[in-house]
C-alpha cells in the first residue's frame, strides 16, 4: 500500500496529490509566502525546536499519557483499547499543540495582532491563551450559532483578554468564521498573523498545522512500544478539518501495518443529506484556499452542514485527508449524532472520561471496528478534547434543565 503513497508531501507548490494549493485573493499571496519561508527556515532549527519543546512540556503538560481503557476493552471483547489523552493538555484539547508553535512564528515575523477562527471554541481558547502570554492583541471569529452552543468557551476566550467577533453571515458556523477571518486578514495583512486552527486553508497552513500536531503521533510510537512492544494495529480519530487525526496519523503513514481510521460527523445520517462528512459524501472542490473534498451542490455552491458538534460542523476537510482517502492509506467512516451521544455516555460511565462531542465520534465506531479484531491486537483512540464545554448542550439535548 505504501507504494501508492508519496512521501514528503506537500510538494513545493503545496499539493498533496491533486489536493491543496493556494487559492486566495491576491492580497494574501505575499503573507503566505513570507509565512512559508519563515517556517521552512526555522523548521529544522534546534533552538526553534527547543523553544517549542519547552512550552509543550512546561506550559501544555506534554507528553500526554497513553491510557489502557480496561472496561471498554472488556465490553467489546476485541482488541485492547488504548486512549491517547490529548484531553489532559492545558486548555483541554489538542489545539494548543498548534497554537504554541504558530505564536512563535508570529513573534519571529514581528506581527503584533493575532486572529483566528473557531468552531467549538477550543482553537479560540488555545489561541487566546498563547496570545495572552505574549501580550498580543487577539481577535477570534466564531459563527453566531456556535457562540450560542459553546458559550462557556466564549467566556473563557474573553477572560483571556481576547475579543470574540460573532459572525452571522451565511450559515453562522465555522465556515463563515473562516470567511470572516480571511477578510480581516486581507484588510490587516501588514501587522496581523492568522493562526488557522486546522489542517485546512491555503499552503503552507495544512503542512504547518500538521507538523505542530504530529508530536501526538511521535509520542505514541514510543508509548506503544513501551506498553505493548509494537505499533498499534489501528488508530482512530475524529475528522472535521482533521488536525487531531493528521497529528496522530502522520508519523504512522509509512508504517503499513497500522490501519488509520478517521471518523466524520454523520449528523442525521449520510442519506438524510444533513451531515458534515465530505469524505463520505462530497466531491473535490475549492474552499478557503485549498482543493479538497467538499460538500457542494451541482453549481459548486457550498452546502450547509449539520452536526451535533460545532467543531466538526464544516463542509470541507484538510487536503491531506483527501489524498490519504484517494490513495487508500486511511479510511473514513461516518457516525450519526445518535451514535455519538451513546458513545459519549459510554466513555463517561465506563472510563470516567467525559469527552468532547467531537471526540465522541471516534468512539462511536468501536462496535464496528472491534468486531473484526481480536485480543492480540491493540487499537489507539485519540481523545482529542474533554467535554466540559459541551455539558450544557448535552443537558439541553437530553431535556435536562441545569438552572
Amino acid at each position: 500500500m505504501s507504494s501508492n503513497y508519496e512521501k514528503n508531501l506537500p510538494n513545493q507548490e503545496g499539493y498533496f496529490g491533486e489536493y491543496g494549493g493556494k487559492y486566495v485573493p491576491e492580497t494574501l499571496m505575499l503573507a503566505l509566502s513570507e509565512l512559508e519561508s519563515t517556517y521552512l527556515s526555522v523548521k529544522g532549527d534546534l533552538d526553534f525546536q527547543k523553544e517549542i519543546d519547552k512550552d509543550l512540556s512546561s506550559f501544555v503538560g506534554r507528553p500526554s499519557p497513553l491510557y489502557f481503557a480496561e472496561r471498554l476493552t472488556k465490553k467489546y471483547q476485541g482488541p485492547k483499547i488504548w486512549l491517547k489523552r490529548e484531553d489532559l493538555n492545558h486548555t483541554g484539547a489538542h489545539k494548543i499543540n498548534n497554537t504554541v508553535g504558530q505564536i512563535i512564528l508570529a513573534k519571529m515575523m514581528g506581527k503584533s495582532r493575532i486572529i483566528a477562527e473557531t468552531g467549538a471554541g477550543q482553537h479560540g481558547v488555545a489561541t487566546a491563551t498563547v496570545a495572552a502570554r505574549l501580550g498580543l492583541d487577539c481577535h477570534i471569529y466564531m459563527g453566531a450559532e456556535d457562540v450560542q452552543r459553546q458559550s462557556l468557551n466564549v467566556y473563557r476566550i474573553k477572560l483571556l483578554g481576547a475579543k470574540v467577533h460573532p459572525v452571522d453571515s451565511g450559515t453562522s458556523t465555522l465556515k463563515d468564521a473562516l470567511n470572516e477571518a480571511i477578510r480581516d486578514w486581507v484588510t490587516n495583512v501588514d501587522d496581523t498573523y492568522y493562526i488557522i486552527g486546522s489542517v485546512t486553508g491555503p499552503h503552507p497552513y495544512p503542512m504547518i498545522v500538521r507538523d505542530f500536531n504530529a508530536i501526538v503521533g511521535r509520542e505514541l510510537i514510543e508509548q506503544a512500544n513501551n506498553n505493548f512492544g509494537k505499533n498499534p494495529d489501528a488508530i482512530i480519530a475524529c475528522v472535521g478539518g482533521g488536525s487531531n487525526a493528521i497529528g496522530i496519523f502522520h508519523p504512522f503513514i509509512d508504517k503499513d501495518e497500522v490501519e488509520l481510521i478517521g471518523v466524520e460527523a454523520g449528523g442525521e445520517g449520510i442519506k438524510s443529506g444533513k451531515h458534515a462528512a465530505p469524505l463520505n459524501d462530497g466531491k473535490p472542490g475549492i474552499l478557503h484556499g485549498a482543493k479538497s473534498y467538499l460538500m457542494q451542490d451541482a453549481d459548486g455552491q457550498v452546502m450547509s452542514t449539520s452536526s451535533i458538534s460545532a467543531g466538526l460542523d464544516y463542509p470541507g476537510v484538510g487536503p491531506e485527508h483527501s489524498y490519504l482517502k484517494d490513495v487508500g492509506r486511511a479510511k473514513y467512516l461516518a457516525v450519526t449524532d445518535q451514535e455519538v451521544m451513546k458513545a459519549f455516555h459510554e466513555l463517561s460511565e465506563l472510563e470516567g472520561i467525559i469527552p468532547a462531542l467531537e471526540t465522541a465520534h471516534a468512539f462511536a465506531v468501536l462496535p464496528e471496528v472491534c468486531s473484526k479484531m481480536d485480543s492480540s491486537q491493540n487499537i489507539v483512540l485519540n481523545v482529542s478534547g474533554r467535554g466540559d464545554k459541551d455539558i450544557s448542550s448535552v443537558a439541553s439535548i437530553e431535556g435536562i434543565n441545569l438552572e
Binding site: T187, G285, G289, D299, Q301
Partner: protein
Amino acid sequence: MNRLTKVLSQNKENNIKSLVAYLVAGDPCEESTLELLNGFALSGVDVIEVGVPFSDPIAEGPIIQSAHDRSLKNGTNLKKILKIIKSFRKSNSHTPIVLMGYINGFLANQSEFSNFSQHGVDGVLIVDVPGEYSLSDIGFQNDSILSVSLISPTTSKERVSDICNASSGFIYYITLRGVTGANKINVNEIHENLLTIKQSTDLPVLAGFGIKTKEDATEISKLADGVIIGSQVVEMIKNSASNKDFKKIYNYLKEIKHSINL
C-alpha cells in the same frame, strides 16, 4: 479582435479613461440584470463586470456579500447568467463583458466554458486563483476568452511581471488592503504601484476596490487607464430594488465617466 481589447485600446489611443462597472447577476432579479446591463452601456460604462454569485465570497465586503446571497436565493447560476448575457447581446454587440467569480463556481460548471464566447462573454476574472496561472492552467481551454488578473499593494515586484505575462485582458489593480467596498485608499501608494505595473506590461491597467466618489475616481484615473466601481453601484441597486427605478445609478455612472475625463 476581442471586444475587450478593442474597447480598452481604442480608449487608450484616444486618451479616454475607461469606466468599468460591476453588478452581481441576478440581484435583485434576472430581468433587472438585463435592464441594468443595457442601462450601464447607455451611461458611458465601457466594460461591465458581471459578478457570478458564490456562497463564500471571501474577497467581498458586506455590500457585495449580501448581493451574492440575494442572487443565490433567486436561484441564479452560471447557465442562467450566460442566458442573460446572450439576451443582452441582441441589443448590444459592443460593450465587453467580464465574468468575475470564484473558482469553485466555475469548475463545477466546466462544461459551460466552451459556450462563454458564443454567449457574448469576453473575459474572466477569478478572484481566488493566483494571477500567474493562466486560464488553461486551471482547465479553462478557450482562446477567445481573455484573462483579467488582480495585482494588489502587497504583490511583490517579481510576481508583478509573472502576473502581467499570464494576463490577456487587463490588469485590475486593487487599490487597498481589504475587501471590496472598504475605505482606506492611499493615493501615493497607488501611484507608485501603478508605475511599477506599467513598466511590466502594455496591457491596460485599471484600478478598483473602494472607489466611491467622483473625487476618488478622478484622482485614481490620473495614472490608471480607468477605474472600476463595484460596491457603490451594488448598494445603489439594492436601494432601487423595490421600485426598479435605476435612473439614479445611471446618472451616477455618467457623472463618474465625465469626471475621470475632464
